[in-house]
């Protein structure tokens, strides 16, 4: 495994910011730690970079131990590049010298060639002699990435790299960053609280909460097969529909009996909540099942309707935007879930 964390713990005083974090990243893969602020994702990144010691567990890269309790390879010896949240470009150096900073040990020609190559890839070849303060936010971002990639690090870490940019720029740059990383075959780990950013950049995403991973999976799996209620809640939109297990994979709900794919762990009679994504609830005028529109958000290509069932339960439904219904109207719906995921109902 290219990068491997095993039961990593990092405490600040009595609080464990990282609390038994384990995951593995393959060579050339782009991973992402996603979670709300304070979940420990940045601390985890800093442990991998070597700026924080770890109190327990082990971090390995290509089988070599980078850090374990009481032992730590110095950050400058880890061959790990980093893109910082505030970018941390050196204000006294121009773009060329910033990118060349980590290339002190290579020959001058090699250095110039490498910097030129990187700047061309990130589209800043003509900004060579500009200083950081003369660049736009997006340009600074790309310089920071080029600088981190210049010494050909084994792993590149990106700490909320887009947080200083406006949201429109973020997604575009996210894709650009992914392309650049892929082009250099870099193994990378990103940290963010923004799932769109995570999904745009990463191959595999870990959702973190209270210092540990809730789930480590592809974006598709996170969305459609969340392992925990927290992941279901944190990723995407959706509602929980109460129901009772009536068969090995059948759930009785007020919308009828729904079938789960693989429900071996449930016993009949158990009370569960089913996750229904807005795209699982289809608008169908022919359907006998109706619900009242109680809120709507126009999103351009579609409407997101909040619907109320007779019982009072609310559903979200994504509907093409030519279906314009007023609040208070009753519309027909059909449930067509690709994956029905159930969570044990919390007894309240």
């Amino acid at each position: 495994m290219w990068l491997e964390l095993h039961e990593v713990v990092r405490r600040f005083g009595t609080r464990a910011a990282v609390n038994g974090l384990s995951f593995q990243l393959e060579r050339g893969a782009i991973g992402c730690l996603l979670g709300p602020s304070g979940c420990g994702k940045t601390t985890a990144l800093r442990c991998i970079a070597g700026f924080e010691p770890i109190d327990d567990g082990v971090i390995r890269a290509q089988g070599v131990v980078l850090a374990k309790r009481g032992e730590s390879i110095a950050p400058e010896k880890r061959h790990i590049g980093m893109v910082f949240q505030d970018l941390a470009l050196f204000p006294h150096l121009n773009v060329h010298d910033n990118v060349a900073f980590g290339l002190a040990h290579v020959s001058r020609d090699e250095r110039r060639r490498r910097v030129e190559e990187l700047l061309t890839v990130v589209g800043l070849a003509d900004r060579c002699f500009h200083y950081p303060h003369q660049l736009s936010g997006g340009e600074q971002q790309r310089v920071a990435l080029a600088r981190a990639l210049a010494p050909k690090p084994d792993i590149v870490l990106l700490d909320e790299p887009f947080s200083s940019l406006d949201s429109e720029l973020r997604e575009r740059l996210g894709l650009e960053v992914r392309q650049v990383l892929k082009r250099f075959g870099a193994t990378a780990l990103l940290v963010t609280h923004d799932q769109r950013e995570a999904f745009a950049v990463a191959d595999v995403v870990g959702v973190m909460r209270d210092g540990r991973l809730e789930q480590w999976a592809t974006p598709y799996e996170l969305y459609h097969q969340p392992a925990t209620r927290f992941v279901a809640d944190f990723i995407g939109e959706g509602v929980f529909l109460p129901g009772d297990i009536v068969g090995p994979s059948a759930v009785q709900t007020e919308l009828g009996v729904l079938h789960m794919n693989g429900g071996a762990r449930w016993r009949p009679g158990q009370r569960v909540d089913l996750l229904l994504r807005p795209d699982d609830v289809i608008h169908d005028d022919a359907s006998p099942l109706t619900a009242e529109v109680c809120a709507r958000t126009f999103r351009g290509a579609d409407f997101l309707y909040t619907l109320r069932l007779p019982s009072g339960t609310q559903l979200l439904s994504l509907v093409p935007s030519h279906h314009d219904h007023a609040i208070g109207e009753r519309i027909g719906i059909r449930i067509e879930p690709d994956h029905v995921v159930a969570f044990e109902r919390k007894s309240s």
Binding site: A17, E76, A88, F90
Partner: protein, 552 residues
């Protein structure tokens, strides 16, 4: 937030490294602490005759003089500095851009220079009164310059820039919102000024006035020119005239009590500096465009202060120099210059290096204890030079005598005579205590601008330890270090009491020369060394941009 702070803090250092830095800092605190300890020990072992003499004949007048002077100068500087700051920051009038910068120039002129020019020019025998007598036959109606009012006026003109600087920063940072709110609540512009603008700037004005009070308490040169007896001049006389170490130290204790009171004032005012508001310059209130008589009045006001505080004094200096240069510009003069430059350069180098060291220790071992020690080490700026000098010379004489007696016991009569108190080390130690803060402040703020992420970026790119310092910190700190060195250099060039008391025998500097000439009333002959000091003093004023935006 606490979590974020904890996560972003630099890696904790080891306990052994913490201890090393603690000890190192403790040593750097000694130059400031030893004088205080010496004064304290003198207070704890009072000599009855000395005290009764002081109490009966010296202290009543000297303390009254000191209080009158400090109160008068602080009030004068507060009023003058605030008015000038407001006029130049809130109004528009002919010459505003020039005066905004030029009104800082009196900082380049030590108070003792302004003092001897004022007396030389305005006294009975001076050019002005002589001319008046020629024209009108009498000059008796001219108020005497050698008076309490005279010395207060001179010190006010020389020290108001402290208030001006701080008050201007306050007015500029206020923005227009508060005034607009006041106006929207029905206040007239004038009332809004009294009720909102001025009160909001008050902490800055008080802090500036406290600095002025501190400088006034520490002033030695100007009051000696006026023969106005304050605690500093009396200490100096007790030291050199009466050769009474104990009397000098008891007076130092009294002076320190005054300093403490002002210091407490200053701290309290500083605590109020929190409600700084807008940083966004587009939020600044538009200037009030003065017209007609008001514009003329504003220009005249600024011009008069600039003229009295800088322009005419410098002109007079130049005239005297032209008159006397042929006679004074000799080998001895170049010796004074050389002595001054050697002292100022050594102090600048030592203090900038120490500032960098202290700033690094604070950055990497930022324990509470370390922060406290940094405060102590840099607190010498508040202690008057006379106190520091005597407080350092006395123990060095003690060490010297002890060593001498050991040496004599060991070698007998052939033992060489030691003269530790007469070396440059003594005077440099006192400068170190007094001016460490001057060098430390720019270096510290420069280092603070280098974020932890910058360090980490360099480390992750392979530049750790010495490489980090060489490739990132030194280039980024170059300006701060230059600033620190220049400020210390200039301050040492101007410094008078420490140099007088602690310098090696015969090591006369420009400031010492000015003192000697002025104590003999030879104003014209003091002009040449004084002009050199003023010219050096202009360097930092030139560094302040005309807009004064970079002023702390």
């Amino acid at each position: 937030m606490a979590v974020v702070a904890a996560e972003l803090a630099p890696p904790r250092s080891s306990r052994a490294a913490d201890l090393r830095s603690f000890l190192l800092l403790a040593v750097l605190c000694l130059p400031a602490l030893v004088p205080l300890a010496v004064v304290l020990s003198a207070v704890l072992t009072p000599e009855v005759e000395v005290w009764s003499h002081l109490l009966q004949y010296v202290l009543p007048e000297v303390i009254a003089n000191t209080i009158v002077l400090v109160v008068g100068v602080s009030l004068g500087a507060a009023v003058l500095g605030t008015l000038l700051a407001w006029v130049t920051s809130a109004c528009e009038f002919p010459g505003r851009r020039f005066f905004e910068w030029a009104l800082l120039l009196p900082l380049a002129m030590p108070a003792y220079v302004l003092a001897f020019i004022a007396i030389g020019y305005l006294d009975y025998a001076g050019p002005l009164q002589s001319w008046l007598r020629e024209v009108f036959g009498s000059s008796r109606w001219v108020p005497p310059i050698r008076s309490t009012g005279g010395v207060i006026a001179v010190l006010t003109l020389s020290l108001y820039p402290y208030v001006y600087l701080l008050a201007r920063a306050a007015f500029l940072s206020q923005g227009r919102r508060a005034q607009e709110a006041a106006r929207s609540l029905g206040m007239s512009a004038a009332r809004a000024w009294w009720r909102v603008v001025l009160p909001m700037a008050r902490p800055w004005i008080v802090a500036g006035a406290a600095l002025v009070a501190m400088e006034t308490l520490a002033d030695f040169g100007a009051v000696s020119v006026f023969n106005y007896d304050t605690l500093t001049t009396t200490m100096y006389r007790a030291w050199f005239g009466m050769f009474s170490v104990n009397a000098a130290l008891e007076l130092a204790a009294v002076l320190l009590v005054f300093v403490l009171i002002v210091f407490a004032f200053e701290r309290r005012a500083r605590a109020g500096l929190r409600f700084a508001t807008t940083r966004d310059l587009s939020q600044q209130a538009p200037r009030i465009r003065l017209r007609g008589a008001r514009a003329t009045l504003a220009t005249c006001f600024a011009a008069v202060v600039f003229g009295l505080g800088f322009f005419f004094p410098v002109l007079q200096l130049v005239l005297w120099v032209v008159e006397r240069a042929a006679m004074d510009l000799d080998a001895r003069y170049f010796e004074f210059v050389m002595h001054s430059v050697v002292l100022a350069t050594s102090a600048a180098l030592i203090i900038s290096a120490a500032s960098l060291l202290v700033a690094y220790l604070e950055r990497h071992h930022g324990t509470l204890m370390v922060k406290l020690l940094v405060r102590i080490a840099t607190s010498g700026y508040a202690i008057p030079g006379t106190v520091l000098a005597i407080g350092i010379v006395v123990p060095i004489i003690g060490v010297n005598n002890t060593l001498q007696s050991w040496l004599s016991a060991w070698l007998g009569p052939s033992a060489p005579a030691l003269l530790l108190q007469g070396t440059l080390i003594t005077v440099l130690l006192a400068y170190f205590a007094r001016f460490l803060a001057v060098g430390f402040n720019p270096v510290e703020s420069g280092l603070n601008r280098i974020t932890a992420a910058i360090d980490e970026a360099a480390v992750s790119l392979g530049a750790a330890g010495f490489q980090l310092v060489r490739r990132v910190h030194v280039p980024l700190l170059r300006t701060s270090l230059m600033t620190a060195a220049i400020l210390v250099f200039v301050d040492v060039m101007k410094e008078m009491p420490i140099t007088l008391i602690a310098r090696p025998f015969g090591w006369d500097t420009l400031a010492v020369r000015v003192f000697e000439m002025t104590s003999e009333g030879e104003w014209e002959r003091a002009a040449l060394p004084a002009l050199a000091i003023v010219l050096v003093g202009l360097i930092p004023a030139a560094l302040l941009t005309p807009r004064g935006e970079h002023v702390a």
